[in-house]
Symmetry: C2
Subunit: 404 residues, 2 copies
C-alpha cells in the first residue's frame, strides 16, 4: 500500500470540482463541491446520532437505501438544518445536480455544512451548477476539498493505492471538520471514493466497523454536530473480482480504508478550531477495548487538560482526574502516564501517584505540535487511541462570534 | 425566612477563622480555614463520584460515619490527591486540629483543594494551627471563606434565618469552586452550618435530596473534581425540637437549606474560571424531570454555546444541537428557545425552527451579566434548571498554566 496524490479523484472514474456560487459573501471562498463517478457506484454512509438531524442527511439516507449512488453535492456556509423547508431544498439540490449530470436524482448524495437555522436559498446553487458540472475533472479533488471547508484552516485529502486479487485499486477521501466535533456513531463530513469493486453490503460493513476506531475517537469540543456524515462510493472500475464476503480481499480493503480514515482523523484533530497542537491519547492495559475507548476519549475531551496542553504545562493530575470521572472501570492506583513527542518523552505518574520529573524536559516535549498522552492501566489488555487538540484563545474567538 | 449576615458563623455556637500558614507562596492569600462548633454536631456529607478521590475525602467519610462532627479544617493550594502519603497527612491534619481544639480527631472534617499530585507538607499547617485556633471568632466566616478560595475571584457565603417549631434557626454556608466543576452526585467544596436540631439521618436525607437539584446542576467546564465535597454540621443550639422525621419542620429546614445551596450554586457559576456571564438554562415541558435535567445540563455544558454567549451571539442553533446530542428523549420539532436577561427577552426558535428576531435586541439581551436560556419542550411537564457560565479567553489563560 502506498500513499498517492489525487485525493477524492485518485480512484478511476471519479471527477470533482469546487466553485464559489454565492452562498458565502466572500467571493474568494469556494462554497459548493461536486464529486461524480462515471458509472453508478456502491454506496455506504454513516450519520450523526444527534436527534436534530440536518435535512440533507434524511434525503441522502433515502437516496442510498438501495446501496447505489453516483454523485455527491455539498455546500458550505449553511447547514440547511432546523429550517421548515429543509427537505424540499435538499431534494431540489439533488434534482438540479442529477439534471446537470444526466443521472437519477436518487443517486445523488446531498450534504450541507455551516450555520444552523438559516434558510438555504437554492438560487446560487441552481445558478452555479452548470459551471460546477462543466468544470468536473480528475484534477478537481483539491477544489472540492476547499469548497467543503468552514472554519477549517487547511484542506483535508488523501489517497492510497492497494492490491485486491491481483488488481491495483485506489481509495481516496476529503474531509471537513474543525469545530462542533465529537462524533458519536458517525462523524464530520467525509467523502471517500474508491475504484475497488465491493458490494454495497460489504462496503457498509467496512465503513461501520472502521468508524468505531477512527472518526468516533476524535473530539474537538464535545459538541456532536447535526450534519455529521461519512460516505463511501465504490465504482468497481479497478476491475477486481467484486468483494462480496469476508476474506483476504475484504481485509485488504479494510486496511486501505483505515489508512485513509486515520489520516483524515489526525488532520481534523490537528485543525481543530483554534488548535495549536494535535493530541493523541493512547490507552493500553484496560479491562477491554470499550473501557480503553472511554478512558481515551475522556482524557481527550477534558477542557482543563486541553488548556494545560496549550500552555505546555505537564499537569498530569488532569489526566488522572479525567480517567476518574470517565465512568470506566479502572484501578486508579495502577495508572501510569507519559507525555511524548518528537522532542522526547517524560513519565509523570506511576501507579496513580506523581513521580519526580524534569519540568524542563516536560516543557520541551509539550512545546511540539503533536503530543502523545500515553496512559497505561493495569486491568487487562484493552487498547484504544483517541485524537483531539488543545483549547486556545482562538477557539473562543472563533466561536464567540461565528454567525456574523 | 430572611437573608442575614455571618455566613458560616451565623448559626449559634459556630466560630471560624482563616489565615495564611505558608502552603501558598503568596503571603497575602489565606490558605487554611477552620470552622468549629461549641458542641458536637450532627454531620452529613456528599462526595465526588470521581474514582480518583482525594485522600481527605476518604478520611472525612470515616470520621463522620457515626453522624457526628465538631470541626472542619480545610487548606487551599494543594489537593492532597494522588499522593502516596495522602491518607497519613489528612489524618495528621485531623489530629493536630483536634489537639488544638480539645476535641476528638474523628470529629474533624478534613478537606484540601488545589493542585493534584504534589505531596502536601504538613509543617506549615502544624505551625499555623495554634494561631488559626486562637483566632476563631463569630466574625471569622469571611476569613474562612477567603482561605478556601483557589482560582475563585470572589468569596462565596450566605446565611438565612428560618423558623422550626416556633424557634428561630439559622443556616449558613461558604463555598469554593471556579474550575474543574461538573459535579456528579456531589460537588465542589461547600461547608454549611446550622443551629437547627436535626438528626444525622434526616440531615443526610435533606442534603442528598437537595444537591440533585442544586450543585449537581452546575457545570463550569465538564470536569468533575477529585475533591468535591459538601458537608453540613447541625449543632442543635437553636433549641427546636429535634427533626427526626418528615413533616413541616423538615420541610422548613429543606427550604432554608435550598435557599443557601441555590445561592451558592449561582455564585459558583457566575465566578466560573474566566467567566464574564452567568448562564441559567430553564427547561420546561420535558417528558419528566430527569429528561429536563439532561437537556438543561447539555445546553449549559456546550463549549460552542458558552463561547457564543461570551460573544453575545444569539446562535440558538447551538442550543438545538446540544439538546439533540444530549441523549434525552425529546421531540426536536416541538422545541422553543428564548433568551432573557434584565435587558429584555427575545424568542429565537419555535417548533424546532428559526423565527425572525431583532439582532439588535438579542445583542442587548446577551450583553448582560446574567442570561436565562429558556427551553420549552412539548413532551410533558418535567422541569429543571442548570447553571453555568460563558467560555472566555481567560478560562484558557487561567488553565494554560495553572501549576506554575
Amino acid at each position: 500500500m502506498k500513499i498517492i496524490s489525487g485525493g477524492v479523484c485518485a480512484a478511476q472514474g471519479f471527477k470533482a470540482n469546487g466553485i464559489h456560487c454565492g452562498i458565502r459573501k466572500n467571493k474568494t471562498k469556494r462554497d459548493v463541491a461536486l464529486i461524480a463517478s462515471e458509472v453508478p457506484a456502491a454506496a455506504a454512509a454513516v450519520y450523526t446520532t444527534n436527534l436534530v438531524k440536518g435535512a440533507p442527511l434524511t434525503v441522502t439516507k433515502n437516496h442510498i437505501a438501495n446501496g447505489i449512488a453516483q454523485a455527491v453535492i455539498c455546500n458550505s456556509g449553511n447547514a440547511n438544518t432546523c429550517n421548515a423547508d429543509g427537505i424540499e431544498v435538499a431534494e431540489k439540490m439533488s434534482e438540479l445536480t442529477a439534471n446537470e449530470l444526466g443521472i437519477r436524482a436518487d443517486d445523488v448524495v446531498v450534504a450541507s455544512t455551516g450555520v444552523i437555522g438559516q434558510p438555504l436559498d437554492i438560487t446560487p446553487i441552481a445558478t452555479g451548477l452548470p459551471a460546477l458540472a462543466a468544470g468536473l475533472s480528475a484534477d478537481g479533488g483539491e477544489a472540492a476539498a476547499e469548497a467543503i471547508m468552514t472554519t477549517d484552516t487547511v484542506k483535508k485529502e488523501i489517497a492510497v493505492e492497494f492490491e485486491v486479487g491481483g488488481k491495483t485499486c485506489k481509495i481516496g477521501g476529503i474531509a471537513k471538520g474543525s469545530g462542533m466535533i465529537h462524533p458519536n456513531m458517525a462523524t464530520m463530513l467525509v467523502f471517500i471514493t474508491t475504484d475497488a469493486a465491493i458490494s454495497a453490503q460489504m462496503l457498509q460493513k467496512a465503513l461501520s466497523a472502521d468508524i468505531v476506531n477512527t472518526f468516533n475517537m476524535v473530539s474537538i469540543d464535545g459538541d456532536t454536530s447535526t450534519n455529521d456524515m461519512v460516505t463511501v462510493l465504490a465504482n468497481g472500475m479497478a476491475g477486481n473480482a467484486e468483494i462480496t464476503a469476508d476474506g483476504a480481499d475484504f481485509d485488504a480493503f479494510m486496511k486501505a480504508l483505515n489508512t485513509v480514515t486515520v489520516y483524515l482523523c489526525r488532520m481534523i484533530a490537528a485543525d481543530g478550531e483554534g488548535a495549536t497542537k494535535m493530541l493523541e491519547c493512547k490507552v493500553s492495559g484496560a479491562l477491554n477495548e470499550k473501557t480503553a475507548k472511554v478512558v481515551a476519549k475522556s482524557v481527550i475531551c477534558s477542557s482543563l487538560l486541553k488548556a494545560a496542553m496549550f500552555g505546555a504545562d505537564a499537569n498530569w493530575g488532569r489526566v488522572l482526574c479525567a480517567i476518574g470521572y470517565s465512568g470506566a472501570s479502572v484501578d486508579v492506583n495502577r495508572v501510569d502516564v507519559t507525555f511524548k513527542s518528537k522532542a522526547g518523552e517524560v513519565s509523570v505518574c506511576k501507579n496513580g501517584a506523581g513521580i519526580e520529573f524534569s519540568e524542563d524536559i516536560a516543557k520541551k516535549v509539550l512545546l511540539e505540535k503533536e503530543i502523545e498522552i500515553i496512559v497505561s492501566v493495569g486491568d487487562g489488555d484493552g487498547t484504544a487511541t483517541a485524537w483531539g487538540c488543545d483549547l486556545t484563545y482562538d477557539y473562543v474567538k472563533i466561536n464567540g462570534d461565528y454567525r456574523t
